[in-house]
Amino acid sequence: MAVKTKEPEELRIGVFVCECGLNIQGTVDCTSVSEYAETMPDVVAVIQNKYTCADPGQNEIKKAIAEHNLNRVVVASCTPKIHEPTFRQCVADAGLNPYLFEMVNIREHCSWVHQGEKDFATEKAKDLVRSGVARARFLQPQIEAEVPITKAALVIGGGVTGIQTALDLADGGHKVYLVEKEPTIGGIMAALDKTYPTMDCSI
């Protein structure tokens, strides 16, 4: 559900460019990207870090949010698949709605796939940051719905893996439905004589 808040009087965007050691910096000229970001409208703070995801990098974000009164945060680093949750939590810790955070992928989608083309890769990184900042301008705070978890698990497959999973969950006090296609559990393991490295019976 979108939060009905008063539109901020002005956009105050912070851009954080990550070097990721040499993973990004090795191909993309991060300083050039940072300088470019500074020229973008409404960008009031640009900070370059060796590792933005590490504690010092995250602290820089939190500090900048407070210092510059940022209301949008853009991190240009790796894929959101890895660190979007990290940075959402980071901006939330600093009092900003996590949906006011935007991530730009200049590692998997840039430095790692254009290794021989430093200039072009740097230009591309600038393009991607420009796109991310443009999107960030329109970000709105959101509230995540909280859903209850039904206290039961479905385990599909009754081989050694399914059996162990079911037992662990059941021993932890959870209701488990263990579904096995065959008339008996055991799977391939049950068809083995002995198993290595202990050389004991499989069943």
Binding site: E146, V147, P148, I156, L169, A170, K181, P183, T184, G186
Partner: protein, 623 residues
């Protein structure tokens, strides 16, 4: 096995299959088909009287066909549940008048020929897929003669022949003459690490150690037996594995580095002669053996498509199920609340399977113990002011999360937020632009298109990539350091079904030479079938471009899965070639033409608005 069968918290549903799964993290609705067993497992005491009188004999799958079982049978003595099952395909009791012997002798009266499949529904918070693997069928390696020679067996068949619970009571014999073989050979990597198109290119992980184990069993049971292992590399990498390998060599097992070229059978003795280049000595050798074991590889389950579809799981290039992250989330599936463990993920031995099982259970417990979780605020939202009750949205929604609009009563559509998964197909299809997707709004995406094309527009390939497959495929290309040209600029949407016609047209209007829309393969779609709307919309767009005199193949559509990093890189290289062929004139014409179209569209809208205002005014006057 016993523990799980009698655990008060475990409801064991054997001989059952998951029929459907719907819902979302914490709130999955599951339907399971309990197949007709024709024997009531709660009543059956496994006394075995029924089996004695059953006149039907069929090959016993558990014993790899080395012995027979009856049509009513116990899969194996330690089966859980410890209950007989009736194989109706082979039973004569289909027509009880014809036989019915087992029912006659069953004192507990637990045999019921009219038993029916039963559908059971329940709710769970988390799901763990542990559907396992299959073993490779070596038939296509005809040079080893598996189908031609009696004394060539597979490693799974070896297991039954050496097992005390096997068809021979653990007396290890060879099939041709039931004599104890004195010399036994093992060929490694059958169906694994293959480069010739047969079998699979990957290492099956378990076969080296399984053979080491087999040789030790032979040496233990039959001191003095001659065992030879033909291999490429022995991979004894796990804890305690090297010790076993050394022990095997100390027992006298010969390890010969070289994979035999062919196997010939002596028609008299039924012995086997292997021709092999020993790559350590560089010499061609001949080895005569009494029995040959093919160390077969591991393959993804042959019926694996079913579970992938039920839980929207993707596969890696080897066909096994893909994890959320290969290092950091090895037992999480991309769908929240779904986990994977064991050989469904990759070939692994018992220890690794158990390790992953415990890992998956621990991961699942986090949610179960928390009792609640937050779901991403990426859901759709209707602007009632703009809605004209056409009801397209409710028809588009793959989740039935939109309650229909009604024109007559001016009832706008209602979005059930908990059921909305956030694909955005409704927002893209809504003709009135009355639906917006939270966090992936039109203005957010349009801002990205505008920003990218605000500098050197002719140099950019605009790519709309879905979050789950194509964007992740791009990540995979990155992780694998696969190189491609810098022209492509990705814009992420949750689903390719979110890509509105106007995003594409805007890109062309601003001077983009090429636009690529990429999403999941139809079978992988993270949003059931939202990707079908991508296809439909693209067809409409191609027609439109054609009508406007714009080359339609400047708009491309590709399905790229999360595992297809190589395909992603190749597609980007191909697009670059196509992009080079787009001329300045074409781009200029496109920009001009679409500008005109946009103006026309605006005028039309303005007229409509005036008309609507007038109608409202008239209505007010009338009132």
């Amino acid at each position: 096995m016993m523990d799980v069968g009698r655990h008060p918290n475990v409801e064991l549903m054997s001989f059952s299959e998951v029929e459907s799964v719907s819902g979302f993290v914490g709130n999955f609705h599951v339907t399971v088909r309990k197949k007709a067993r024709y024997v009531d497992p709660s009543e059956c005491t496994a006394c075995g009287e029924c089996e004695k009188v059953c006149p039907v004999a069929v090959p016993d799958e558990y014993q790899q066909g080395f012995s027979s079982r009856k049509a009513i049978y116990l899969p194996f003595p330690q089966a859980v549940p410890s209950s007989y099952v009736l194989d109706m395909e082979n039973c004569l009791g289909n027509n009880p008048i014809a036989c019915g012997k087992c029912a006659d002798v069953c004192e507990k009266e637990c045999i019921n020929y009219d038993d029916q499949d039963e559908l059971v529904n329940f709710e769970v918070g988390v799901i763990i897929a542990a559907t396992g693997m299959d073993v490779y069928d070596p038939t296509e390696y005809d040079e080893y003669g598996y189908t031609r020679f009696d004394n060539v067996i597979t490693s799974m068949e070896f297991e039954r022949l050496i097992c005390a619970g096997g068809p021979t009571g653990g007396h290890f014999i060879r099939p041709s003459d039931h004599e104890s073989p004195k010399s036994i050979g093992f060929i490694q990597c059958v169906g694994s690490r293959s480069k010739d198109g047969r079998g699979n290119p990957y290492c099956s992980n378990i076969c080296c150690m399984n053979t080491v184990k087999d040789t030790l069993l032979l040496c233990d049971h039959y001191p003095g037996v001659e065992a030879k292992v033909f291999y490429m590399d022995i991979r004894a990498f796990g804890k305690g594995f090297e010790d076993l390998y050394i022990r095997s060599k100390e027992e006298g097992v010969k390890y010969i580095r070289g994979i035999p070229g062919d196997v010939v059978e002596d028609s008299q003795t039924k012995n086997l002669v292997l021709n092999v280049e020993n790559t350590t000595t560089g010499k061609i050798e001949k080895h005569e053996l009494d029995l040959l074991v093919l160390s077969q590889g591991v393959i993804p389950r042959r019926d694996g498509a079913q579970i992938k579809q039920l839980l929207t799981l993707s596969s890696t290039s080897d066909g096994f199920v893909m994890e959320s992250h290969p290092k950091l989330k090895p037992v999480d599936a991309p769908t929240k609340g779904v986990y994977i463990a064991g050989c469904v993920e990759s070939p692994k031995d018992v220890k690794d399977s158990v390790t992953q099982a415990s890992a998956a259970a621990a991961r699942a417990s986090i949610l179960l113990n928390a009792g609640k979780t937050k779901i991403e605020a990426i859901t759709s939202n209707v602007d009632i002011e703009k809605c004209n009750y056409c009801d397209v949205c409710s028809k588009v929604c793959p989740y039935n999360a939109i309650l229909s609009a009604d024109k007559k009563t001016n009832k706008p559509p209602t979005i059930i937020e908990a059921a909305c998964a956030g694909c955005g197909a409704c927002a893209a299809e809504c003709p009135q632009d009355a639906i917006s997707m939270r966090h992936f709004t039109d203005e957010q995406i349009m801002a990205q298109v505008d920003a990218l094309l605000s500098v050197d527009p002719h140099k950019h390939l605009i790519v709309f990539a879905c979050n789950w497959c194509s964007y992740a495929g791009g990540d995979m290309a990155g992780t694998s350091r696969l190189q491609y040209p810098t022209t492509c600029k990705l814009i992420r949407t949750m689903c390719s079904g979110r890509v509105d016609e106007k995003f594409v047209l805007q890109a062309f209007r601003l001077g983009a030479p090429m636009v690529l829309v990429s999403g999941c393969h139809f079978s992988d779609c993270h949003y059931i079938n939202a990707v079908h709307w991508t296809q439909k919309r693209m067809d409409r767009l191609w027609n439109k471009l054609d009508r406007l005199g714009i080359r339609a193949d400047r708009l491309q559509l590709e399905w790229i899965s999360a595992a297809e990093g190589q395909k992603f890189a190749k597609v980007m290289r191909d697009m670059e070639e196509k992009l080079k062929q787009v001329t300045e004139e074409e781009i200029e014409y496109t920009m001009k033409k679409l500008e005109e179209e946009a103006k026309k569209e605006e005028e039309k809208k303005a007229k409509k608005a005036v008309k609507r205002a007038k109608v409202t005014q008239d209505q007010e006057v009338n009132a």
